[in-house]
Symmetry: C2
Subunit: 288 residues, 2 copies
């Protein structure tokens, strides 16, 4: 199944036969005090730096989150989505826990956006799915309800419920991207194994595209980039078709690209070779 | 199924629930002119450097190959195996295409060695399996005969034939490690996909342990360490339980260790953390 996202001028398709889709996650104030302070003053100039870095790193889609409890998130999202479309032709993923902010972003977005996110909770489904449907967007759906289940079968059932509810609102399965919930291995050693099994159930039972917040896996462990990279590539072989990840990490981007080479989605490694040469050129330029 | 290897004082077990087994492959003159010249003069002093580097890098087993057409390989193997056992307590993998050299190495080896290798060709089976049986060794068996088949099913059938022939010689399946044949992706884009499928057939049909020459995959491509690392970790999720690889590559060793973390064979990432700290300490020491 293929999920098509669009900006005003560019189309990106997520699917099992397509290159692994890198959803750049950096444009987010979580844990960034300076960016938070800027947003509280209505200053979105940081987007210029963050978007340039994600694009340079190789993101295919950009997640835009400007959530801050002390800021006017609805107004910020409207401005951020307009500004992001001036700065890049990549499709956007409009990311907020505030429904009005999602709607404000969708209203000014040109193309077919990804919305981040809905869950399996009835009230979230009933509030968010009509907005997604009205704007003809696609949506990331977390495989949890009021609890985060660890059992793959339970996550699968929530995913199936969401796909069904979306259908009731006229949203086809190809416009649902299930977040299969990457959890810290440091807290639960079988977290990745359970994640891979969840992917298998979703792939075989629903066939929809999947994503995750890839860096969650390594929380609390050292050498996080390397571990995240292997998590991404290994998850790809179990059916993961996209990840929300920081494209500034060459290790993680290489994980996605290596998965493409290994699974014959990058014939004769041409994309891999291109990335390698671009990095060599950048390193040579930096060395003067 | 578990394959037990032993030196005089140390046991290493290869198996799906065990840490991924790194068979250090550096002790081999292929492509190394200086080492070849030393061997031709009967000089095996290079072993001291090579073995120290493989051990420091994290190898669990050491492959010993002293093959050179202009040298006395039988005599060299006898001396190399004796010397290697003085230098390390890791179990050895005695590697030669010359049957007399395999036998010479086994005669002086203390413990239960791995022999590299036999193929599915009748004459090789009939020549090598009795030697393996007589010395109570384990053996790597390449899933090819006079040709290297690309079809997973054909490789599986050769593997099955070898396991059966080994049984006729009193060698149990747990003492067979099938080399599922990693081939260059640069020549055949589906080489890794076919390899993963071969692993699945072997795992489900025979349950024996598996290995491969991991670096073959990236032949002809840039960024080989990164690609090899992802090949190793991804193959591990499909059932690969060991690889013949250069433990001097931190990326490749990390691939094996990351696979252990992701598959809960390294509970709470303790092994991963230990490696990270050891590297930090080594870097600090190097920086003075």
């Amino acid at each position: 199944m293929e999920t098509t996202l669009q900006s005003a001028s560019k189309t990106v398709v997520i699917g099992p036969e397509r290159p692994f889709c890198i959803i750049g996650e950096r444009i987010n104030p979580t844990g960034r005090k300076a960016f938070q302070a800027q947003l509280q003053k209505g200053d979105i100039s940081q987007l210029e730096i963050d978007i340039a870095e994600q694009v340079a790193g190789g993101a295919h889609v950009l997640d835009i989150n400007v959530g801050d409890p002390l800021a006017d998130e609805v107004g910020l999202m409207r401005r951020a989505v307009v500004r992001a479309q001036e700065l890049t032709d990549l499709p956007l993923c409009i990311d907020s826990s505030i429904i009005e902010a999602l709607e404000a972003g969708l209203e000014v977005y040109q193309g077919k956006a990804l919305v981040n996110s809905v869950t399996g909770e009835d009230e979230r489904l009933e509030a968010i799915l009509p907005i997604v449907a009205r704007h003809g967007a696609a949506v990331i759906a977390l495989a949890n309800d009021d609890e985060i289940p660890m059992e793959p079968q339970r996550r699968y059932e929530i995913a199936r419920k969401i796909v069904s509810a979306a259908g009731d609102h006229g949203i086809p399965p190809e416009d649902i991207v299930i977040d299969a919930l990457a959890m810290p291995i440091g807290a639960e050693p079988r977290a990745a194994v359970l994640f891979f099994e969840t992917l298998r159930l979703i792939r075989e039972g629903l066939g929809v595209n999947t994503t995750c917040g890839a860096s969650n896996t390594s929380f609390g462990l050292p050498g996080r980039h390397g571990l995240n990279a292997h998590f991404i590539a290994t998850a790809s072989t179990h059916g993961l078709t996209s990840a929300i990840m920081d494209a500034r990490s060459p290790a993680c981007v290489d994980g996605a690209h290596a998965a493409d080479v290994l699974h014959a989605r990058d014939e004769y490694g041409m994309g891999w070779i291109r990335t390698f040469r671009a990095r060599q050129a950048a390193a040579a330029a930096a060395a003067g």
